[in-house]
Symmetry: C2
Subunit: 467 residues, 2 copies
Amino acid sequence: MDLIEQLTQIVGEKGILLDEADMQGFVVEWRDKFIGKARAVVLPKSTEEVAAVVKACASSKSPLVPQGGNTSLVGGSIPFTKGDEIILSLRRMHTIREVDRLNGTMTVDAGCVLANLQQAAEEVDCIFPLRIGSEGSCQIGGNISTNAGGVQVLHYGNTREQVLGLEVVLPDGQIWDGMTSLRKDNTGYDLKQLFIGAEGTLGIVTGAVVKMYPRPKYQQVALAAIPSVAAAVEFLNLARTMSGDQVTAIEIIPRIAIDMVCRHVPNFADPMPDKYDWQILVELSSSSTEDLSGLMETILEAGFEQEIVIDAVIATSEAQQAHIWNLREEISGAQKPEGGSIKHDISVPVSRFADFIREADIAVRKIVPNFRSVAFGHIGDGNVHYNPMQPLDMDKEEYLGHWEEVSRVVHDIAVSMRGSISAEHGIGRLKSDDLVLYKPAIEIDLMHRIKKALDPDGIMNPGKLLK
Amino acid sequence: MDLIEQLTQIVGEKGILLDEADMQGFVVEWRDKFIGKARAVVLPKSTEEVAAVVKACASSKSPLVPQGGNTSLVGGSIPFTKGDEIILSLRRMHTIREVDRLNGTMTVDAGCVLANLQQAAEEVDCIFPLRIGSEGSCQIGGNISTNAGGVQVLHYGNTREQVLGLEVVLPDGQIWDGMTSLRKDNTGYDLKQLFIGAEGTLGIVTGAVVKMYPRPKYQQVALAAIPSVAAAVEFLNLARTMSGDQVTAIEIIPRIAIDMVCRHVPNFADPMPDKYDWQILVELSSSSTEDLSGLMETILEAGFEQEIVIDAVIATSEAQQAHIWNLREEISGAQKPEGGSIKHDISVPVSRFADFIREADIAVRKIVPNFRSVAFGHIGDGNVHYNPMQPLDMDKEEYLGHWEEVSRVVHDIAVSMRGSISAEHGIGRLKSDDLVLYKPAIEIDLMHRIKKALDPDGIMNPGKLLK
């Protein structure tokens, strides 16, 4: 019996796609950046079916690409073009197995859509704190396999911090049931850590136990003008201390980004009455303090006194809160009509944030003298979307022709500050060459040793992350 | 040149101990539970010296025992009795390399004593949140290698959560410099996770970058009587929500423990006016809310209304706060004059806490009908010190003769609830047989595969954790 017959027997006729048209949604990256070819797409309905599929593939050493919501930004879930890979989609495994309010945990299938986890937590007056743009379609298994970040990392941590237990089908088809929900367990190597962020190269996550948190009932947002990038970091520490660690977001926004949003988003009014070079969006959240606007005012006043805040607007209604958040969220979209931009997903130590932007600007200017510097994002985590834009009078394609050169100097600077070339998005296919370029050989070697120990035949998502 | 000569050349005459009397403090467990024998104790002064020592040992496949403050509770840092092992003590590597207030991080040598880290953080108005009984002598390298827990895990997490970067000497003597201080970095497998909690079996931690937090300026403590063990868990959720996550400790204390403390600690007065079966110590901490006693009162009142609190005492002075904490801290000591107790370091899902105590009591009673149940500890983490005590009229040695039988049923019950047989203390030598007994074979196999991938000759702390 050939592999396809075996797989069909395991998942049934309805659980396997062989027709190219049917496979289309699974082999194409959502921005069309990567287009691959698969031998088949299998859609198992249970952990046991996943295990049987992997066993069948392992026995013929057939490569497997695990896939969640297919929202990767680095091509991690797209097969190559040879057409010999089997895509294993988790989308039919979407049961929330248990919500344990007292223990503050949820036990879920890997194929559950992130938004469904958020909703299940809300139903017991809790939250699941992972919030990312693709939450309506990405799956928790993919979030775990890529250690997804998002806007609330500052307060709650990355996906890694949300995972207490995992269920994984190993590359030989064995099921590892590591579904504990303990806060403390020191009985040997913490195996789940291996699979979190491994981008499906060590096994297939089929289930997880994740944490929930008390739901913050009150929220307050302000936009504050600051005298320098460095002041943002000082302000973060001030706000964190004065609020009793109730800062849930600090996002930095440059003047140029506000101007672009005002230009391109219909009827969008600048929330700030005057014009400053740098702004920060500050969000406080609490499950207890009702008077958050009083607290926000006190913190901002202390910022004025320390001369790390020069002007500020506090939202006085939910509409105004949304208005300030919109400003932040519209930046990416507003960049598009302004021409080409070269995107980076950088992190540096928070204390080096200002240095990074200054040095990167100088370096990029040497390549494209009149480029426009657009740097915004999660300053609280040291995670900058550093997206230098083309000069107004330059041809877009000519500018984008500098991508590699610009990226190289930007990454060089980040790495010289012990920063990361991929803070949130992972490596996938997009950055697997860069990984070898920037990681010390000893780390690459350690990764290969781990890979070999768990997946000696190299059938799990080959060519992704590690080449 | 033989190994001892090589080592002497690396660390100098003063850096090596060969005389049995000099080695005494390194080969004996502090409670005399394990007494070993070493070929030599080497005390390198730098990472490079550690690397050279390991290289020398690796070339002759000589086993190494890494040692921090030698405060292990499971014999993890004590050599066996054959006398062929080299102890590598980190105690001469005790430099705090950098304190980065803005980034909220410290970069430290592995041999720094925990209390010195706490102090260095306080000097910049921050805290390093790991607090354990041995903090005056244990070292951060040991804390990391055992993923130490303690009383503040509820709020800040285990040691694992405090580590951003690591420097490790690998079993072949290579130095892995993974000393990043990033909050977000998704560039491949998170290698540091391998070494955290590995009890020195995969390499020697020589340095680390750890997190600091805003210093809580205000603290409030109460002792509340609760109608049942289950109520403690309900109360935890209530307090967490109402305080905006400012609960830093919830410890459960049974009546029998209060009675013992009152009996054996001179002049100790019961803080509660009336006698109840179960009490909880509740601590709130905040860097912002001054009126924590008002908040504590509000939370306790809500507890009364929901009938999960039946009486309470709020500390009105620092002396009273200390008095309530003393009650908790004196329990272990007060157990001693009462006779033998069989100790366990159990964790279960928080929601199963009440079930665990009930079922364990029933099971132990079948072995020793009149035993006295003493269960106390970190209920917020589901981590119970379940220490059943001898009946008053039984011989101590006779009672302790039941240790294995009692431990077996207690561990069986914990594991049946997907709990842990070692929540905080690790495996070391004490529980390496239990590990094989209770861990699924697939986990033991995965651990061996990791061990083999990193330490193929098995020279790093052999016989600890994994047999």
